[in-house]
Symmetry: C2
């Protein structure tokens, strides 16, 4: 049985301009791996309607789950919700349940629920709300696309809300061996080993630090015994 697959779309000009360093991709990648869901592709796109719609349509048909981050705030450049509606050709409007969540949140601080804030209650027809315990404004799930905030604290809280609702597979097991030899010396035996264990994935990540060099060899798979057996052979080759 193969694991379910996933893709992510990171939305925001600030990532592509280098102003902001994205952290949501790395967070989601780790969480999905633990849940046994294989993240296969990430696209980072700007706040451009056509590009966002094309990415949603391309990825939602190929992968089991799609996750987006960014573009669901109150300002004019927050266009993600409208793009998702357009990608699936459904309507979008302020929805009563989302408005109620915002109204309750802003009443606490006697803050006006003005037109800009109300934009955050615009939800595509047929979507399910995703809880935002940090700042109230909800994300949503439409078909297989989970639409979440870009602010890392909010994104991470939404991921925590969503994860228990997903059907995961076997968690990927990953073990690492540090070998203080040039990667070019490791490559030959590692390639032979990779052919011998076609169900395991083997990666080599070179390092150079404090005058020492070598590579971390990472072996990943679903079967711990098989990983241990492969690591054992590697240890014999590089004692």
């Amino acid at each position: 049985m193969t694991n379910p697959t996933a893709a992510m779309i990171v939305i925001g000009d600030e990532i592509l301009s280098g102003r902001t360093r994205d952290s949501n991709m790395h967070h989601l990648a780790g969480q999905l791996t633990e849940a046994g869901i294989d993240l296969k592709e990430v696209r980072v796109v700007g706040d451009e309607r056509g590009t966002i719609i094309a990415a949603v349509q391309a990825l939602a048909t190929v992968y089991d789950y799609v996750f987006t981050s960014g573009g669901i705030g109150p300002t004019h450049d927050d266009i993600t919700a409208d793009c998702i509606a357009a990608a699936f050709d459904v309507g979008i409007d302020v929805r009563a349940d989302a408005k109620a969540v915002l109204a309750e949140h802003y009443a606490k601080s006697a803050t006006d629920l003005n037109d800009a804030r109300l934009r955050m209650a615009r939800i595509p027809d047929g979507a399910t709300l995703i809880d935002n315990p940090v700042s109230a404004a909800p994300g949503f799930l439409l078909r297989n696309v989970h639409v979440m905030a870009g602010v890392p604290a909010v994104f991470e809280a939404m991921v925590a809300s969503v994860l228990p609702t997903l059907t995961g597979g076997a968690p990927l097991i990953s073990k690492t061996m540090r070998i203080e030899r040039g990667e070019g010396d490791i490559a030959g035996p590692l390639g032979v080993l990779a052919k011998e264990y076609p169900l395991l994935s083997m990666g080599s990540y070179p390092f150079q630090k404090d005058g020492k060099y070598g590579a971390h060899i990472v072996i990943r798979g679903n079967d711990a015994d098989e990983i241990d057996a492969a690591l054992g052979k590697l240890a014999v080759a590089f004692p």
Copy 2:
């Protein structure tokens, strides 16, 4: 005159599994912005031949420049060079000039230039080498695709080699105003301002820190005077 456009492909299972946090995207984004080249899209893909080829073909036809990072080392999972050759339907083999660079480098440390290391001299037909001052093994440019290493120190050195060869546009100027008001209060006036200055891009990035909250408003464009004028109006609206 519009700026040249660019896309990036980050290649590596280790990014998608959450093992490694990519830093090359953020580095390249900042460097391109300074050079007046608009990074429009980034794709992160695994070490899978079909996915890499599809990404290269899709992006190389749409954007002026494409940059890849990862997958050009000596191990069996380093398949980027072969994928680039396949994407453009050209041959690939060990090339004399690349082999000479490696031979000279490894001779210094009396290291054997074995078959695995020789893989790093496999260069697609018609490509130009990209200098690697850190660890010798070269990157290459084929058509509009710059193929570079995944190790950040090497990637950054290759970017530095490549940048002077690119035709840039007007560097994007970016100015930021910090406003200690709820983003929902800023959104209305900011939306009006964005319509008034269609050539400027305006983004709102909320913060919450040490009991204070508000948003950083970032205005980007090529004309400093226009940016200053817009910021002046924003300062009047939010004194």
